[in-house]
């Protein structure tokens, strides 16, 4: 078994420790959110040029509910010709859209935001069905934040000149966007809202396994009377995405997803006049100092890694805790993990839903097995899982070293690895010992230490005494293999404009 110098053993209870028991006296009754108000069609086409069209490929594929493995609907498999039709539609829509005043573009974005809010429950339920994440998250995080992104960027649409003093911002043009399955609606909003605010037109490809909310968003665009072709949605697998990024008429590609695919895309656009932003993987560290508010740090670590089943690129998957409080903190975490309610994502009391796909489940299982094989100590609370669907118990490894696979590779699942540090220098060194650099969390009650540590961590987002908190006004993006470019905030808009110097007429 691999050992570091630091204390890495699993903590033992002290002899006179009391034991708590839960759930024996008062159990919550089932509280499922109703699905009656969400009409789902058997089959969805592509949304191109403001109309629903059949794929030229003639092919469809099924999208399933990860919590039941039952088919929800069929969606179109777009091929190269379909992608071309979508890009041409976006190209055709571009001149009129970019000519609109910022004020007019803002009206559309405000409308979209308001309609999203009005239909929030419908979107939350659909997202939960298609993705497997709990209704409490889609209801309280995904959908409100998606609406916020449209509101926020609506506010900038007529103020772009203020962002870039002395320069004239112009739209980049036709933008190809590819988004992942972990936040399907939210990622669509992150991508579409700034693009439209800046006067670009869009072809977006949702993830193969979670296309339904992006397609439903097209209904919102129709309702908002967004001009035809301004946003086009093509569904499909990796080949659809490959066709999109290779299309010669694109002016920009924006991708969120795995580092592996990100590198492929970077190759595909190399040598062309195509702007690129990549938001890729992560292996974020929580640094917990002994003076931190430990009970709240436990909550933050739980939110950091078990939020959205750990399917979060900025998930805090490495806990690096000061040795003096390691045992206490791990005990607190173990108790808290046992309280996580795993199960039916539609139940309003569910904290953790289904793993998104069987493929992802296999990946998580494989990496967890590697952790066991390499000698780290696995903790999993007792947890009854549903029979059907894809599930994984909240998991924590103690005794993890920097060279274990589980501390280097992105697991993208509910698996935390714990190691220790003794000095702030060591904490920073360990936090930075990764090929990624998307986010990090610092837990300490000391203001000076927050600044000292934060300025030395190579990550795009550093949270202090909180984690996984998002806001449309705050730029999001990474260092190193976590990608480049920022999304959200003023910095995010920069990727959707071309700047021309000097004061130009009109």
């Amino acid at each position: 078994m691999a050992k570091t110098d630091n204390k890495t053993s699993v903590p033992k209870r002290r002899a006179n420790n009391g034991k708590l028991s839960f759930g024996g006296k008062w159990q919550y009754a089932k509280a499922p959110e109703s699905t009656d108000h969400v009409a789902i069609e058997d089959r969805y086409g592509l949304f191109i040029g403001g109309a629903w069209v059949r794929p030229k490929s003639g092919k469809y594929f099924a999208t399933i509910n990860p919590a039941t493995e039952k088919k929800i609907a069929e969606v179109a498999q777009a091929n190269k010709k379909d992608v071309d039709a979508a890009v041409q539609a976006a190209k055709k829509a571009l001149p009129a859209w970019r000519k609109l005043s910022g004020d007019d573009r803002a009206r559309f974005l405000f409308r979209i935001a308001r309609i999203l809010q009005e239909r929030a429950r419908e979107f939350a339920v659909l997202e939960t069905l298609d993705n497997g994440k709990p209704i409490k998250e889609t209801r309280d995080v995904d959908v409100p934040l998606a609406a916020q992104h449209f509101f926020y960027h609506a506010g900038w649409a007529d103020k772009l000149e203020l962002l870039f003093p002395g320069e004239k911002p112009e739209p980049v043009g036709v933008v190809g966007q590819i988004i992942p399955w972990n936040f399907p609606l939210l990622m669509a909003a992150w991508k579409i809202a700034p693009a439209l605010a800046a006067g670009n037109t869009v072809v977006i490809k949702p993830a193969e396994t979670s296309p339904l909310t992006a397609l439903r968003l097209c209904e919102v665009f129709e309702q908002a009377e967004l001009p035809a072709g301004v946003v086009n949605v093509v569904t499909g697998d990796g080949s659809t995405g490959a066709a999109l990024v290779r299309h010669p008429d694109l002016n920009k590609v924006a991708f969120t997803g795995s580092t592996e695919v990100g590198k492929e895309i970077q190759k595909a656009v190399a040598g062309r006049s195509v702007d690129l932003t990549l938001e890729l993987g992560g292996k974020a560290a929580h640094l917990v100092f002994e003076d931190a508010a430990l009970d709240q740090a436990v909550e933050g670590v739980v939110r950091g890694i078990f939020f959205n089943q750990g399917h979060v690129c900025c998930a805090g998957s490495r806990l690096i805790v000061q040795e003096s409080v390691h045992d206490l903190f791990v005990r607190k975490l173990q108790r808290r993990m046992a309280r996580i309610r795993v199960g039916d994502p539609l139940d309003k009391n569910t904290d953790m839903g289904a793993i998104h796909s069987s493929e992802q489940l296999m990946r998580i299982r494989g990496l967890v097995q590697s952790g066991v094989d390499e000698g780290a100590v696995l903790f999993q609370p007792k947890c009854a899982l549903p029979k059907n669907g894809f599930w994984f118990v909240p998991s924590m490894f103690t005794g993890v070293t920097q060279s274990h696979r589980i501390s280097r590779e992105e697991i993208f699942g509910p698996v935390l690895s714990v190691s220790t540090f003794r000095t702030p220098e060591e904490a920073v060194k360990k936090a930075n010992d990764t090929s990624y650099g998307l986010s990090a969390g610092i837990w300490t009650d000391k203001g000076a230490r927050i600044l000292w540590v934060a300025s030395r961590i190579r990550a795009g987002i550093v949270w202090n005494n909180t984690f996984n908190l998002f806001d449309a006004a705050s730029p999001f993006g990474g260092y190193q293999e976590s990608g480049f470019g920022r999304e959200g905030g003023r910095q995010g808009l920069r990727a959707y404009v071309k700047l021309r110097s000097g004061l130009l007429p009109g």
């Binding site: 006179n16 420790n17 009391g18 708590l20 028991s21 839960f22 759930g23 024996g24 006296k25 008062w26 159990q27 919550y28 009754a29 089932k30 509280a31 409490k136 309280d140 003076d291 931190a292 508010a293 430990l294 009970d295 709240q296 740090a297 909550e299 933050g300 309280r339 309003k348 009391n349 009650d445 005494n465 909180t466």
Partner: protein
């Protein structure tokens, strides 16, 4: 009675206000329906210290309160009695007679309630008299003047002295969190009270706003949980003042259930100090039973 402890004993880990409130808000989204709701509301009644603490309290009002505590809804035998009635010391005797044999206990506020601004001997004498008159629970207030000026030892000594004066009566120590202002203070005061021998730590007198809040209750629950895990000794928590709706009461119970667990889901270890809460709980229970809301006038007022 022991002498003052070393100041290091009163040191407590810091509390992050934002995260504490976020956790409370998260737990407030728990959806409590059907059987769980009925069970929770009945438990809330059984945990209730039905309270009247007014200058205009009369023997008649106290007798009525006692009757209501013994049989909150006389026609429904499945509805439990309240845990206790809570009154001023001069009305303890009347209350004790009124609840005799019912299992409902009599709690008395003491130690110069609600401000605690009187001398130690008067406080102890008041406790002794209340116990002699039949109070089996004493709700004392801590000396906030001493606490806020950093004389933690004095607060501790007073809790110890009152505990001794209580004899067999249970001691609830009111922190008056609305005057302590910070969560760090709440945790420190909780620790002082627990070390001083409190059987219960209680949020508020009900005379200061804000009275009980859920983040404060969560913090106190975490403190008694940690104390239990360290020492094996259980201490109860009483949330008092400002809890008026059944929904709010259920949210408190969720905090108990998910922080301390089964052992604290009992009147022995968790209490509500309230007066108007009872009728809302009864109304919700009748709604669950009949499917309809009853008129307010269908429930007696105290």
């Amino acid at each position: 009675m022991s002498g003052s402890l070393s100041p290091t004993e009163f040191r407590v880990p810091p509390v992050d206000a934002v995260a504490l409130e976020a956790r409370t808000a998260d737990l407030a989204t728990r959806s409590i329906k059907k059987d769980a709701k009925v069970q929770g509301l009945k438990l809330a009644i059984a945990m209730m210290d039905l309270t009247t603490l007014e200058g205009m309290d009369s023997p008649g009002k106290v007798r009525q309160l006692c009757q209501k505590a013994v049989a909150p809804l006389p026609a429904r035998t499945d509805i439990p009695s309240c845990a206790a009635v809570c009154v001023y010391p001069d009305l303890v005797k009347i209350a004790a007679q009124a609840v005799a044999g019912s299992g409902v206990r009599v709690a008395s506020v003491a130690t110069g309630f609600p401000s605690g601004r009187t001398d130690r001997r008067t406080k102890l004498r008041e406790v002794e008299l209340a116990v002699r008159a039949g109070a089996s629970e004493i709700d004392m207030v801590i000396d906030r003047g001493a606490f806020l000026s950093g004389r933690y030892g004095a607060v501790y000594d007073e809790v110890c002295a009152v505990k001794e004066a209580c004899g067999d009566a249970h001691l609830k120590v009111i922190l008056e969190t609305g005057e302590l202002k910070t969560y760090d203070n709440v945790r420190r005061a909780s620790r002082i009270a627990i070390l001083g021998g409190a059987d219960f730590i209680k949020t508020s007198t009900g005379k200061v706003s804000p009275a009980s809040t859920r983040p404060v209750a969560l913090l106190m629950l975490e403190t008694v949980r940690d104390h239990y895990l360290e020492t094996g000794k259980m201490v109860g928590v009483k949330a008092a003042g400002g809890i008026r709706s059944a929904k709010d009461a259920l949210r408190y119970l969720v905090l108990v259930a998910e922080t301390c667990g089964d052992a604290w889901l009992s009147p022995e270890w968790f209490r509500f100090g309230a007066s108007s809460l009872l009728n809302d709980v009864l109304m919700q229970l009748e709604k669950q039973r009949t499917g309809r809301y009853q008129r307010g006038t269908d429930f007696s007022t105290d």
